[in-house]
Symmetry: none
Subunit: 194 residues, 4 copies
């Protein structure tokens, strides 16, 4: 059954690739592009450095594709919210949670670096410029609007509120593990109608 074997190989291939990618996001988030050595990624992933190049062309190329994925995933996640059978305020809470949960933070940090520092390849800068904060605000607007109509979301200018909300979330992430806060609930106070 060569058919089955081929498929199996394909699966293993994708698993390995994912394993290296996961290691890479973690390291890139912590050390940045120039601070990340291939050996850090491969030893985190538990493979030899040579294997990296079976799965990825260059360090830059991997970084770029990770940023691209992070951008696209973040946009998509907002899109997915709309599909959810939940009240607007619940959706906002879910979003907040997903941004702050452990697996999401490295991706956020990657985007943070890509957005604010000039340590990245040109392609990344251009990529990021296609997705300014405004796009996120715009996509979130309908959810917040519905929330306001239902009386779940606080009154006031929504564009500004969303901007503030995003700013504050960023602040929380950036201050990082520095000090403990009742994260989610505290953040929701910027949004919820008391």
């Amino acid at each position: 059954m060569p058919r089955l074997k081929e498929e199996q190989l394909q699966i293993i291939y994708e698993e390995r690739k994912q394993q290296i990618k996961l290691a890479a996001v973690k390291i890139f988030a912590r050390h940045g592009l120039p601070g990340t050595k291939i050996s850090m990624i491969t030893s985190e992933a538990g493979v030899s450095h040579g294997l990296f190049y079976h799965y990825f062309k260059t360090k830059d190329e991997l970084f770029i594709s990770l940023v691209r994925e992070a951008v696209e995933t973040s946009i998509q996640e907002i899109g997915n919210l709309s599909q959810l059978a939940a009240s607007p305020i619940e959706k906002i809470r879910i979003l907040t949670q997903s941004m702050l949960d452990e697996s999401g933070v490295p991706y956020f940090m990657l985007l943070h670096r890509a957005r604010n520092f000039e340590e990245v390849p040109d392609l990344v800068s251009r990529l990021i410029q296609n997705y300014p904060i405004e796009i996120y605000i715009e996509r979130l607007l309908p959810i917040f609007e519905e929330g306001q109509q239902r009386g779940e979301v606080a009154d006031g200018n929504l564009t500004e509120m969303i901007a503030n909300y995003l700013t504050v979330i960023s602040g929380v992430m950036v201050l990082g593990n520095g000090y403990p806060t009742p994260r989610i609930d505290w953040l929701m106070r910027f949004v919820e109608k008391k």
Copy 2:
């Protein structure tokens, strides 16, 4: 008068050193420690790369001393606030302004990197751990307390309020030039009694 000449040399020496330091903070802030090449600093400062080593022992040593200065300056600035002949709310506004003004941002970014990323020498990590956010909160507490007593600062738990205030400032800096906000005034709303 060799005396005078020596003094003059001393002055030139200090000016040059400062000039290189200023260039360095700017570049370190943008590119991080591993992303910063000595040649970037020296060309920003307009000197030859060899000259760097007349003023500083190594790249790491300069980075460390810059972080140390940034930490100490930031603590000192809070200390200086107390000396000011101004009302508490004015002091807070002045602090806010100084954190966000153009010359301050690179130092903030340096601290941000030192605090959140592991791309720095061990010595820096240890240095930073000696100055956790709590210290800033603690130092600001008297000013906020006086403000509350005078009715200038909003009611509520002050420790929490200061933490939030710092979080939000960080968020603003991190979101960076991404989108326009009425910075200072907007930030003061988290603090002022309306």
Copy 3:
């Protein structure tokens, strides 16, 4: 009949081996030993790169054995000429033709590299030194002598004539596809009695 199956395997084995060898000569001739990657050979041969090592121990070993074969074949071909039922001048023409024909050129190029460039393993250099040009001259001498006696080959010192003949053939090959010449006939003019 396991006997038969084994034989068949043997045949397949030899065919595969030959197929890889043919690809290898071609690539070695064009790219030299260090310029030839195993993957070039295997993709030219249409097999996986892993398979290479079923048939050959190392890249060097294959290169060496190919050079050895080329040397031995070239010597043998001259030997075979004697057996041929043809006039001396015909024999020389056949030899010329075989050196310049498409399948022969890569082998010639291999020898050219082995003889003139130091990009080869020591063993190859030593191998080649055992077969200096003089040996070729010496082996061709009887044919040319008979030709001269029969009045087919031009008059003059034969050792020199053969050396010139080989030199010119080499020149033609080296100038390569650069410009068109009536190859065979033009070359024969260095030899034939007009």
Copy 4:
């Protein structure tokens, strides 16, 4: 006198560059582009491998510029012949000598590799294609014509004669140090009117 010092530095710079270039041609000629390691060049030149990159951007770039120089020099040398106060046959002898003399051989080998092997960067292939053998023939034609008119050069079709002459010279170089010939005089026999 900073003026003088700068000039001196410039001179030293050019000398070092030349020193590395000379080492490089020699090694490239012997080992080809992929067979040449930077360390071979630098140890031949007696400098550290790091220094190479003060003077040249990459190995390929150096190779390309050397081939370009070889091509241009070879064309120029033919041009210079015309300026010489010498009889046509003397000019041809001088040309022959310069092609075969020790310092010229490595450049010839470089061109040989660039012209005949596909182990070179694309730019080199294109460069070489701009200077096919025909150009050399064309440039030599006037000299040979004058020689024929003066009765110094043998009768016959000149284009063909020059082509043969170049072919034979190439053959001599390619057969290399394999066997001894009365080089110059023997080669001139293809050209001189006896």
